[in-house]
């Protein structure tokens, strides 16, 4: 008889093991299946910088957190309902993320003395009182996988590598998810190694059957599909959405895409993604360094292509001189910064949003550059597309900010119709429109954009460069008045972009006690908290900025409508400084610089504190 199924609204699972254990693989598979059966999902991969740290060590623990629900959700969840720990190190590192009375599934076969010692356990936590407040399920994952695969011709080492699919089979049973999507993926993944198809599917099935048979598990759970707007959906990671946004901008503008890049975590996936699309005319150039990567983007833009480069904070530091060249030469390029925890090399596999001031100010001289930030994985598509639109229309470098958390996180995405995408018009100069011949700095009176004349166009031969230019003619100029004028024009051109962005959306209260003002990857945590507050009837609103330079024109007015402005950021208060100095308001920050996203409870605590302060509670 089938075991009883209990309906629940949502669940959070954390898979954790050695970096080589395949936690990311089964986490991704669980995400795919869960999205395909209609739940809303959000994920958080958390992995070490080392490719293969010593097996069983604390440094080598790789985790994948997955939150799914029958309601709309915005974060991968604070604490987990289920923790799958493949070894003692994983248990040690991740146990604090498991809810009290949460379900803990451990691979007991890995709890031998050596692994316990590597994890720093003096006694076996499965035998002492470490785990008394959890529901512990001890599973002989390695032995059971070996038994299930004993008829195959694989070596023990190969068999042991299948145990992650045994674990996935268990979790699929536990949450009543079908195995078919994973089987389909296994078949495609190992198309060239049929013996691995059979073994991984055997392991998956064995895990599933084990749960049905064993008396350890009395019930399973089901999470009904969430209600989504009508449309066609797919599951997407932030970096993949960035890739698609760039390809879309190239396609819709008719500008060939040239992407210059140097490998760096967590931006390399954009290079990997774009490299698949040569049939869209996409050229990816892996260059000798970060400077060369932005150099080819600038050269491509001078030639009349869509020049794009991507990196993370340390790479952006190297690119800054070249970005300034694109700024003064007024050439359209897009620079993607997938932020990670700094300073210096920092923590390459951890998230942070601490490059905002670097992007604003990290160049010599007066150097205004538009900055656009994505707020969640699927938003990378629209945000990077918008960065391309602004770059082309205003002939300016544009910085697109994402971060590791949204770049590597995944969620369902309602696929847009091509007709919904804004127009991007290169409007190349075709002929000299002045009696003095072609004047490369004769501007559009409305946008202040200069003409984009690509080599190969007869009669428009001209010279540009990094030296200050004379207004209109673009000739080299050391004239004092002209320099000040050009500085002002370049600033004004960027400021006018504010006329070209839609009104700011205020979620929740339109005025009242507290406005939570955010940008970038903190969207999910902030929106969850504000939804909760609004449900409680609290006069709290949320604005999430996509355009950081220039700020939206209506922002000043919105900030004035709230008693307190709270700016949560994964840095020491960078937007906070900008807002305080721009609008002269006493905004306050909630700051976390741990390489980890906000927990919802952290924001609630801060809101309660402010509400008390201003006498609302």
């Amino acid at each position: 008889m089938r075991k009883p199924v209990e309906q629940i609204e949502e669940a959070t699972i954390l898979f954790a093991g050695d970096s080589g254990d395949g936690s990311q693989t089964i986490g991704t598979q669980m995400t795919e299946t869960t999205a395909l059966i209609g739940n809303d999902v959000a994920t958080l991969p958390d992995y070490p910088a080392e490719i293969r740290a010593p097996a069983g060590s604390l440094a080598g623990v790789s985790g994948f957190q997955l939150h799914f629900s029958s309601e709309q959700i915005h974060t991968p969840g604070d604490l987990c309902d289920v923790l799958v720990a493949m070894n003692p190190a994983a248990l040690k590192v991740q146990l604090n993320k498991l809810k009290p009375n949460g379900i803990l599934i451990v691979n007991v076969d890995n709890f031998a003395r050596r692994n316990l010692r590597l994890a720093g356990y003096e006694s076996n936590p499965l035998e002492d009182d470490t785990l008394t407040k959890y529901q512990v399920f001890k599973v002989e994952l390695t032995q059971l996988t070996r038994k299930a695969l004993e008829t195959t011709n694989l070596t023990t080492g190969e068999i042991d590598r299948c145990k992650n699919f045994f674990a996935l089979g268990m979790i699929l049973w536990f949450y009543n998810r079908p195995m078919e999507y994973t089987m389909k993926w296994i078949k495609a993944k190992f198309a060239k190694k049929p013996e691995y198809i059979e073994s991984n599917i055997l392991a998956l099935r064995a895990g599933n059957t084990y749960c049905e048979a064993t008396e350890q598990f009395a019930v399973s759970y089901d999470v009904k599909p969430a209600v989504f707007e009508p449309g066609t959906y797919r599951n997407i990671e932030g970096n993949m959405a960035t890739v698609l946004g760039l390809v879309a901008a190239s396609h819709q503008s008719g500008l060939p895409l040239v992407y210059g890049s140097y490998p760096i975590t967590p931006a390399s996936d954009i290079l990997h993604g774009l490299a698949q699309y040569r049939n869209f005319g996409v050229v990816t150039m892996q260059m000798e360094d970060e400077i060369a990567a932005v150099g080819v983007a600038i050269g491509a833009a001078f030639s009349g292509a869509l020049g794009v480069t991507g990196s993370s904070g340390p790479g952006l530091a190297l690119k800054s001189e070249a970005i300034n060249l694109a700024m003064i030469a007024e050439l359209p390029i897009v620079i993607c910064n997938i932020q990670r925890a700094g300073p210096s090399t920092g923590m390459p596999t951890k998230t942070e949003q601490s490059d905002l001031l670097q992007m604003f100010y990290g160049r010599n001289g007066e150097s205004p550059v538009p900055i656009i930030a994505s707020s969640r994985p699927y938003d990378c598509f629209e945000a990077v597309y918008e960065a391309c639109r602004i770059a082309v229309k205003y002939r300016t470098p544009v910085i697109f900010l994402s971060d590791l958390y949204i770049g590597m996180g995944a969620e369902p995405w309602k696929i847009p119709q091509l007709s919904e995408l804004p127009e991007i018009r290169p409007d190349f100069a075709a002929s000299a429109d002045s009696n003095n011949g072609f004047e490369p700095y004769l501007r559009d009176p409305e946008t202040l954009a200069r003409p984009w004349a690509k080599p190969g166009t007869p009669g428009l031969e001209h010279r540009i460069g990094g030296l200050e230019k004379s207004d209109v003619t673009g000739h080299v100029s050391y004239d004092a008045e002209n320099h000040e004028k050009m500085v002002e024009i370049r600033a004004e051109k960027v400021a006018r972009i504010a006329d070209d962005i839609p009104p700011t959306e205020v979620f929740g209260a339109q005025e009242g006690e507290i406005l939570l003002l955010g940008w970038g990857g903190t969207y999910g945590a902030i929106r969850t908290v504000v939804e909760n507050c609004v449900a409680e009837g609290l006069p709290i609103g949320h604005v999430h900025l996509r355009h950081l330079n220039p700020f939206p024109k209506d922002l000043d007015d919105i900030l004035q409508r709230f008693k307190k402005v709270l700016i949560p950021e994964l840095n020491s208060g960078q937007l906070l400084q900008l807002i305080r100095s721009t609008y002269l308001i006493n905004a306050v920050g909630l700051n976390k610089v741990q390489g980890q996203p906000f927990h919802v409870f952290e924001l609630h605590a801060k809101i309660d504190e402010i509400l008390k302060e201003i006498g609302h509670l």
């Binding site: 066609t232 959906y233 797919r234 150039m285 000798e288 150099g295 080599p455 460069g465």
Partner: protein, 349 residues
């Protein structure tokens, strides 16, 4: 014999002259600078290339030589220090039909831009690189450069003499896989012009080191190879298929003694012209070119002038264009709607 991508001027179009390539900007190098001659020779050969003016792009970095694009009435981009090769690569990649020229100096190409220089050489874009070597930083008022001889005394920066071993630009280019490597002299118009044209005609990255005199900060550094009264005895012209003979009386030659090139007298009976190295600029193997390149590092050896190496290798931009074409043939032209809807999708009614 070779196929340049660059479009040719259609028959019947008006003939261009040197004047068409002069920009309206005043040239601002020091009077007597070797750069003037290089500019003139370059403007001179442009009409002879047979390509439309609008298809020509000059790209430079920073330094005295890098002002060059402002004086050419073509497309031009004066970029940032050392980075011209990267920007030129982007220009060429985005439009392989353009004739792209990089103007650089010893500091720009070999110091701050050393990394880009070697990688440009190995990628073999069809780009021409003219390195004005004057063995000094001129624009910053006289500091030793990566080609300055060790011990060079610059009264401000290295009053006791520089400590660095100089780069040999020809050896560096060869080691980086350059497919066309040549050397010429700023004021020798009769040699420089054909070198510039040969660089243009070569399909692939063409590198010319041009000995250029900075008479303000490093006057006469190349006196022996530049001035009429010395150069016949201190330079040897490289001509494909010809023995390496030099000297006012054509009485000296270069032969290989083991692994060492040496100067021999061809008139005293011990050696004849048959003992001399015969130049082969088309050799795929770089051994000979490396021997010749090393001569300028050896005291008392004449400096070779001309084409050290000229071989045909695939160009980066053509290989990339091929990848794009093959992908389109295999998968069809990119269909954005299909791409966005790729993979597992589900529809909410």
């Amino acid at each position: 014999m070779k196929r340049k991508r660059t479009s040719r001027i259609p028959a019947g179009a008006p003939t261009l002259t040197r004047a068409d390539f002069k920009s309206d900007q005043d040239t601002r190098w020091c009077p007597g600078c070797g750069d003037y001659s290089i500019l003139t020779q370059t403007q001179q050969i442009m009409p002879e290339l047979g390509i439309p003016k609008e298809n020509i792009v000059f790209i430079s970095g920073i330094g005295c030589s890098s002002r060059f694009p402002y004086y050419m009435n073509t497309y031009g981009f004066h970029t940032i220090h050392g980075r011209a090769p990267t920007i030129a690569s982007g220009v060429k990649m985005a439009n392989p039909d353009l004739s792209v020229w990089v103007i650089t100096g010893d500091g720009d190409a070999l110091s701050i831009g050393g990394n880009h220089f070697i990688h440009l050489m190995r990628r073999n874009f069809d780009i021409n690189v003219l390195l004005f070597n004057n063995r000094v930083y001129g624009l910053t008022k006289g500091q030793y450069s990566p080609t300055s001889e060790r011990g060079q005394k610059m009264y401000q920066s290295t009053p006791l003499g520089s400590l660095d071993t100089p780069f040999n630009p020809i050896s560096l280019a060869l080691a980086s896989g350059a497919t066309f490597v040549a050397r010429s002299v700023d004021i020798d118009s009769g040699h420089l012009r054909p070198m510039l044209k040969a660089a243009f005609e070569h399909k692939g990255t063409s590198f010319i080191e041009i000995y250029q005199n900075c008479h303000i900060y490093n006057d006469a550094t190349f006196e022996l190879y530049r001035e009429k009264e010395f150069k016949t005895d201190h330079t040897v012209l490289l001509e494909h298929g010809e023995p390496l003979v030099f000297g006012a009386a054509r009485d000296k030659g270069i032969r290989l003694n083991g692994f060492q090139p040496e100067v021999v007298d061809t008139t005293n009976g011990e050696y004849s012209i048959d003992d001399l190295i015969v130049h082969d600029q088309y050799a795929e193997d770089t051994t000979l070119a490396n021997f010749l390149a090393g001569m300028s590092d050896t005291p008392d050896m004449p400096h070779p002038m001309g084409i050290f190496r000229s071989v045909r290798h695939p160009c980066y931009e053509d290989l990339m264009t091929n990848q794009v074409r093959t992908a389109k043939e295999r998968m069809g032209d990119g269909d954005l709607e299909a791409l966005l809807n790729d993979g597992e999708t589900w529809t909410v009614p």
